[in-house]
């Protein structure tokens, strides 16, 4: 379908309106039923709490974001490096891929307590976020590296391309789209991993990230602050996903079919 100017505005306006409507409904439910703030705070109160508690919440937001980004960077570097190694040798891939799968299918919340014994709380949280973000990068990059057009591979072979030339000129560019898909998934998972690990660590009285604030506020029945922290986590997740989607669009828009404007 072709989006005209009016339709384009609508495509922005509609979700915004829907969101505003949901907030309004929430507000009405609280107001009409006289629900006390310690059970369900009205959206305005959540916003006010966000402002009044900003010093404490922003510090925690920063802690969680830093963990998430550090984990994402390490997971990306590690996942790509390992994928390149796996793509070079079927035997190495065959031998070590199962480890990555085991790490992936074991719920991180079950590993966290163990990590908290072995590592400092900060390092344990970082490790958890890394572990969950690592696999999607590895598996998607590996899939991209190994599913190159066989005719293009023949062309490289005919021209006596070295393994390195084939990797740099053929496999890596061909893997870029699926790597970026993996990265987008990993961004979301790194945040989830960090939050889960913070909660696990928080219950043993350590940490200062957003999840810890939620647990702490829960003990004190400070429900508005729980909601405010929750809102920050959601916003952080949306921003991470949005920036990675943007990165992907910028890198691929010139040549990849996923970005073709069929209506344009």
């Amino acid at each position: 379908m072709r989006l005209g100017h009016g339709a384009r505005i609508l495509s922005w306006a509609m979700p915004v309106l829907a969101f505003a409507g949901a907030l309004l409904a929430w507000d009405l439910v609280v107001r009409l039923n006289g629900i006390p703030p310690f059970i369900l705070p009205a959206p305005a109160l959540v916003a006010a709490t966000l402002v009044s508690d900003w010093p404490i919440l922003s510090a925690s937001l920063w802690v969680t974001l830093r963990t998430t980004l550090e984990a994402l960077v390490v997971a990306t570097a590690g996942g790509v490096a390992l994928a390149v190694v796996f793509a070079q040798s079927r035997w190495i891939a065959l031998s070590f891929y199962p480890f990555a799968v085991i790490l992936q299918v074991t719920p991180i919340i079950a590993i966290a307590p163990l990590l908290l014994i072995y590592l400092s709380p900060d390092a344990a949280v970082l490790t958890c976020a890394f572990v969950v973000a690592f696999f999607p990068v590895l598996s998607n990059t590996l899939a991209g590296l190994t599913s190159v057009d066989p005719n293009l591979r023949d062309l490289f072979r005919l021209n006596r391309a070295s393994r390195l030339a084939e990797l740099l000129r053929l496999r890596i560019p061909a893997a870029l789209p699926s790597f970026l898909v993996g990265l987008r998934i990993a961004g979301g998972l790194a945040l989830i991993g960090a939050i889960v690990a913070e909660i696990a660590a928080g219950s043993s009285g350590q940490g200062s990230g957003l999840a810890y604030r939620i647990v702490e506020a829960g003990y004190r029945l400070n429900v508005p602050r729980m909601f405010a922290a929750l809102a920050l986590i959601s916003i952080a997740g949306v921003v991470i996903y949005g920036s990675l989607a943007l990165l992907s669009h910028v890198l691929l828009r010139r040549w990849h079919d996923s970005t073709v404007a069929r209506d344009g």
Binding site: D149, N151, L152, D154, L155, F156, R157, L158, N159, R160, A161, A165, R169, L170, P173, A174, L176, R254, W255, H256, D257, V260
Partner: protein, 268 residues
């Protein structure tokens, strides 16, 4: 390995061989016997068409010539130097371009891989892009081009090293007829300019008669040569040639030969 090849016509073209397949057999790990006792000579400077029913092993034969597949039996003699990008150009059925690279970079690839200097590679690629009629499209991405233009890029890439031998595997099969005719003419012009030897796989009897000096007909299960037609074209090969009685007659002969080959390859 017994030779199943029987030639109906002797080869009058006396040029020395560029590449010879002698008693070549190929069986795939799946158990398919794709070729058996294939005797095939591509002569220096000729335009050879390989014609045959689907699955008779034409692509396999071409890949063996290019050194991309090893024969299971028999020998391959190359008289054009090693099987590499400098002496052999290969055009696939699909354009097979790198979608992330601009036209110029796609055409330059064989030179880049051979370690030709940047400036020199650039100049030669640009020249070849012009030769195939794509001047001004060097900075375009493949997806911005039509199917015919992409095939031209693929042709430019195969020719950029000025190879002795050009191997083409049904290169124009996916194109509409007008585009195909135009590319046929341009291919003949390029061949006249560069004087390279061409082995060209096709399904189309019309295309084979229009282009080739010699048509080798193959039949399948397993693939072998069953017939050979030396094409006679009195004048230059232009649209007028397509209208001549001789053209029609040779197309009819080629068609009969392929039909016979197809009948011979029926699974028994």
């Amino acid at each position: 390995m017994t030779s199943g090849a029987s030639r109906s016509a002797a080869t009058p073209l006396a040029a020395p061989a560029a590449i010879s397949l002698i008693g070549v057999g190929k069986s795939y790990p799946s158990g398919t016997q794709a070729l058996d006792g294939l005797d095939l000579v591509v002569r220096q400077g000729e335009f050879l068409a390989l014609l045959g029913p689907s699955g008779c092993g034409k692509s396999t034969a071409l890949r063996i010539m290019a050194g991309l597949a090893a024969p299971s039996s028999g020998t391959v003699e190359r008289h054009i130097g090693a099987a590499d990008g400098a002496s052999i150009g290969f055009v696939f059925q699909e354009p097979t371009l790198m979608p992330w690279a601009r036209v110029a970079a796609n055409v330059r690839l064989p030179l880049d891989l051979a370690g030709v200097g940047r400036a020199e590679a650039r100049r030669r690629a640009e020249e070849m892009i012009e030769r195939v009629g794509l001047a001004g499209f060097g900075r375009a991405y493949p997806r911005e081009l039509s199917g015919g233009m992409r095939m031209r890029v693929s042709l430019a890439r195969a020719l950029v090293t000025r190879p002795h031998l050009l191997l083409m595997d049904e290169p124009f099969a996916a194109l509409d007829e007008i585009t195909r005719f135009r590319l046929n003419d341009d291919l003949l012009a390029l061949r006249a300019a560069f004087g390279c030897t061409i082995a060209f796989v096709t399904h189309s009897t019309y295309e084979s008669v229009y282009l080739a000096d010699r048509i080798v007909v193959m039949s399948g299960r397993p693939g072998r040569v069953t017939d050979e037609i030396v094409v006679e074209a009195p004048g230059p090969r232009t649209a007028a040639f397509r209208g001549t009685a001789g053209y029609a007659e040779q197309c009819r002969r080629a068609f009969a030969a392929v039909a016979g080959a197809a009948a011979a390859s029926e699974p028994r």
